[in-house]
């Protein structure tokens, strides 16, 4: 039985549409990355990253971004890992766990600007940190909690039950099993979670604008205001007067893009790593 020519044509059109859509999406990515790297790589150099804005560099912004990342991770990583351990290892289906899951799901869907409002209110005003790196780090730590918890949970769930049963059968307590058996096997997953959330923190702008501020100086401590790379890029484009400013903006955007490419590649490798270990 030969298929009807009209139907064949329809099918051909649908195939074309699907390939065209995928083609458009891929070319959007290539266009964005290509445009920014093409215009930004020329200016990019080690000197650009390590010199002050007065000399046309971005050093204070790199330092501020690093401080924000370190603060946020130092808070979110332990809390996230512990939460994931609790919801998978200790209490999988209790009512309390259901509330925790619901809270995490909801937190994951809240737009970043609302985190900014909350951080400004609680950390900057009520707790009196003002606009500072610590206020931003605390705010972002809540924002990346869902990423860390979910990714860690996934890697915990991939660990075979026999690992835990084998350990418990030897007479260990649950904490010993978690600490000596479960956590080491989940390390690649935790690494993936950390890499993904570092990428998220570096790329975030709206809550940072509200909580960290826009000071251009090199921050001396985490209790001072600063300007992250993303905010610097925003202000450069908004206030660009000299043609130089656009050049610097392109280079800053290229730094961000390169960083995200590195983060994504690293996350893929670590994720592939833990999947392979589990299959063995």
């Amino acid at each position: 039985m030969k298929s009807h020519p009209i139907r064949r044509m329809k099918e051909g059109m649908l195939y074309t549409l699907m390939y065209a859509a995928t083609g458009i999406i891929l070319s959007a990515l290539v266009l964005i990355l290509g445009y920014i790297l093409y215009n930004g790589l020329g200016k990019l150099s080690i000197g650009f990253i390590f010199s002050s804005p007065q000399e046309g560099g971005i050093y204070p912004m790199v330092v501020t971004t690093a401080y924000v990342v370190i603060t946020a991770m130092a808070i979110a990583l332990p809390v996230g890992i512990i939460t994931a351990l609790y919801t998978t290892e200790y209490s999988r289906n209790s009512p309390g766990t259901r509330y925790i899951r619901l809270a995490i799901e909801t937190l994951a869907g809240i737009p970043s600007i609302l985190y900014g409002l909350f951080g400004l209110m609680l950390f900057s005003r009520v707790l009196g940190f003002g606009q500072s790196i610590i206020a931003g780090g605390l705010t972002l730590s809540i924002m990346i909690l869902p990423v860390i918890i979910r990714t860690t949970e996934e890697s915990l769930k991939a660990i075979p039950r026999s690992f835990r049963e084998g350990s418990l059968a030897l007479g260990t307590t649950q904490w010993q099993t978690v600490y000596r058996v479960v956590l080491p096997s989940a390390l690649p997953g935790i690494l993936t979670a950390s890499i993904l959330s570092i990428g998220r923190v570096v790329g975030e702008a709206a809550p940072v604008l509200l909580t960290v501020g826009i000071a251009r100086n090199l921050p001396r401590s985490i209790f001072q205001s600063g300007r992250t790379l993303t905010i610097h890029l925003y202000y450069l484009t908004k206030e660009a007067i000299r043609p130089d400013d656009f050049e610097i903006a392109f280079a800053a955007a290229a730094v961000l893009v390169l960083f995200i490419i590195v983060v994504n590649t690293a996350a893929r490798y670590t994720a592939a790593g833990y999947k392979k270990t589990m299959e063995r």
């Binding site: 995928t22 920014i36 869907g109 209110m121 709206a206």
Partner: protein, 400 residues
């Protein structure tokens, strides 16, 4: 034996600590809702103050309603239920008396406080809820001034949601309807443009592409998800905005159209990754049965697998919508940010999120609180969208 006892003690201590730490995310969510709601509801419950406030400038000594103040730098408070205000002071050697009447039930700020006609020439550029009386002086810059600040009344919910003018600084008009419209329009445009692309591509990735090319496309989509929103905005501003300006010949390319274009790319990764996952979750038996009945692979994909994954796909579209509603920086850079109703695709618009980010830095008082009220509206939209997804998930669990 003692050692074992200690181990068990540690074990239960760890358990308690873990439980406590785990609840931090619940506490964070509740605190977030609490703080934003508390601050955002205040403008609708009470006036900004219970008193009229008077600030003298270059007046060393003055008497207000019978009380004398010397070298006063801060506010002099007059309760709203006072019958009037009488200010006496020395001006160029003369004894001056300024009288004003108070009517706390007045509807507009011009009705709340009234001045005698002979004073009108000295009242300069009255702003909403704020009068400044300036008396001439021989030396410029040393004019005697009296600022009178009337408290803003309770904000009406309807005036906030349905008001079409946002002039928060001088006229104290806080209508956010143009911003709501802008958010709805940019989101709707992004969904209309982005979702068909994403769905077509997802079916290709999940059902037709081989393992290697599927993983290649998916890693490209992941990368698209990782690009910071500021970079999207920057790209839009440098590339799309001039393009739109040239094609449509508008004065500025920053427009609704630019925002829609940028947002439609930004929601792609969300929609694609969840749709692909839910298409992959459809049991192989569905495909086999359909193919065994003589359906082509294309018919199987679109008529059998796609409908079977319906709730997952709906969830992906809703999550994409939520992403578009909440996006701030990218939209702020390309949309032009005029708080007005757009009459065409090339008009400048300002979304709710952009309003918060743009004005938080310099706003104060009621204006600042109302930015939190905009936050409440965003919260309500996002929580409603989340609730639909939760419902879909329970449906999905019942089906499988």
């Amino acid at each position: 034996m003692r050692n074992r006892h200690r181990r068990i003690q540690i074990d239960s201590a760890v358990r308690i600590i873990f439980q406590a730490v785990s609840y931090l995310s619940v506490i964070a969510l509740i605190a977030m809702l609490g703080f934003v709601f508390y601050q955002g509801i205040r403008p609708f419950t009470a006036p900004t103050a219970d008193q009229i406030q008077i600030v003298p400038e270059h007046i060393p000594q003055l008497t207000v309603n019978g009380r004398m103040y010397e070298n006063r730098r801060s506010f002099i408070d007059i309760p709203m239920d006072a019958e009037g205000i009488t200010i006496e002071f020395e001006h160029q050697g003369e004894h001056l008396v300024v009288n004003a009447g108070i009517d706390p039930s007045g509807d507009t700020w011009e009705e709340i406080i009234t001045f005698p006609p002979e004073l009108h020439q000295y009242i300069t550029s009255p702003e909403a809820y704020m009068y400044t009386i300036i008396l001439p002086s021989a030396v410029a810059g040393l004019e005697q001034r009296i600022h009178i600040q009337i408290p803003e009344p309770r904000q009406q919910v309807s005036a906030f949601l349905l008001g079409s003018e946002w002039r928060p600084v001088y006229r104290k008009l806080y209508g956010i309807l143009p911003m709501i419209a802008a958010t709805l329009l940019t989101t709707a445009g992004a969904v209309l443009l982005g979702v068909p692309l994403a769905l077509l591509s997802s079916v290709l990735i999940a059902e037709f592409l081989g393992r290697r090319s599927a993983s290649l496309v998916r890693s490209a989509v992941d990368l698209l998800a990782g690009i910071p929103s500021v970079v999207y905005g920057f790209f839009g501003l440098m590339m799309l905005v001039p393009l739109i300006q040239r094609i449509f010949g508008s004065s500025s390319g920053s427009s609704l159209l630019a925002a829609v274009a940028v947002l439609s790319v930004m929601i792609l990764p969300t929609v694609i990754s969840i749709t692909v996952t839910s298409l992959k979750a459809v049991p192989a038996a569905y495909r086999e049965a359909s193919l065994a009945l003589g359906a082509t692979p294309l018919q199987t994909a679109w008529r059998v697998v796609f409908p079977a994954a319906r709730s997952g796909i709906t969830a992906s579209v809703i999550l994409g919508t939520a992403r578009a509603v909440g996006e701030t920086m990218a939209v702020m850079l390309v949309a032009g940010n005029s708080p007005q109703f757009p009459s065409s695709l090339t008009d400048s618009v300002r979304t709710m999120t952009a309003t918060i980010a743009l004005e938080m830095g310099y706003s104060s008082g009621r204006h600042n609180e109302l930015l939190f009220s905009i936050g409440i509206i965003l919260f309500v939209i996002i929580i409603a969208l989340n609730a639909i997804i939760m419902k879909l998930k329970t449906n999905m669990q019942e089906v499988s």
